[in-house]
Amino acid sequence: MKTRPMLTLDDCRRISAAAEAEAKRNNWNVCIAILDDGGHLLHLVRMDGASPANARIAVEKGRTAAESRRSSLVWEERIKAGRNSMLGMPGITPVQGGLPVIVEGICVGGVGVSGVQSHEDEQIAAAGIKVLG
């Protein structure tokens, strides 16, 4: 039987804390969502000052990355390059700020961030994932 790694609540807390620290260092107020490889929410924090919309968008960016196993930026760039039909992809939020969590070559989930500029959202998500080593 094939086995695969999976994120624990403890992993999520570490990822989230590191992402939050990155945001705080830059005085950014964001929402950070972590989802499993099925696109199901594992952990969420919305920092003081981040909006209700940020909460929803962070989850959707994270879900896009977790389920498609690639950065949500990939989808954004495809559309920017003229593939307008990609706008209709079911369940895809094609905006930078969602990254897959890859462990031992396997996608175990995704991290989505929303609250600042999209490339800054991604910077926060990357800082969170980095703690897994």
């Binding site: 929410l41 952990h43 919305r46 920092m47 003081d48 209700p52 909460a55």
Partner: protein, 172 residues
Amino acid sequence: MKAQLRVAVACVSACLALAAGAQQPSPLDAVPEKMPNDIPYGTPISLERAQAAIAAAVGESKKRDWKLNVAVVDSGGRLVAFARMDGAQLGSIAISEHKARAAAMYRRETKAFETGVQAGNHYLLTLDDVIASRGGIPILDGGRLIGAIGCSGATGSQDEVVCRAGADAVKR
């Protein structure tokens, strides 16, 4: 022929009696002087307190070896913090958030809906975004509603115990 007529008359009388019975005053017709759950909305809960509530709830749940989903929403019913414990069931992710949201939006514990429906007040299920299951509790600060916590994954009674631990840890 006469016997049949008598039966028919008896049936009509019985029906009228039933209809008259249905017109007896309903307890829902009562007009209390004061409105219930007249709790003002306050400043939305901070992330720090939301996380303290979640930590307390997860701690209580862990102590009992239960695996739950715990959600905290602000006074607008929107998610502020969420945690899924290892092994918690997936269907309860949305339920925990729903319970928290309903507790905030209706300014009462979701147990109130459950109790009402159990008592036969099925109209409660027609109210918008109601969830008639215990385990959603408002979080108050100085008499104002600042958010709510919702737990799901075990029985309603187990969800409620964990939920209460979370709510009690941060109320003021």
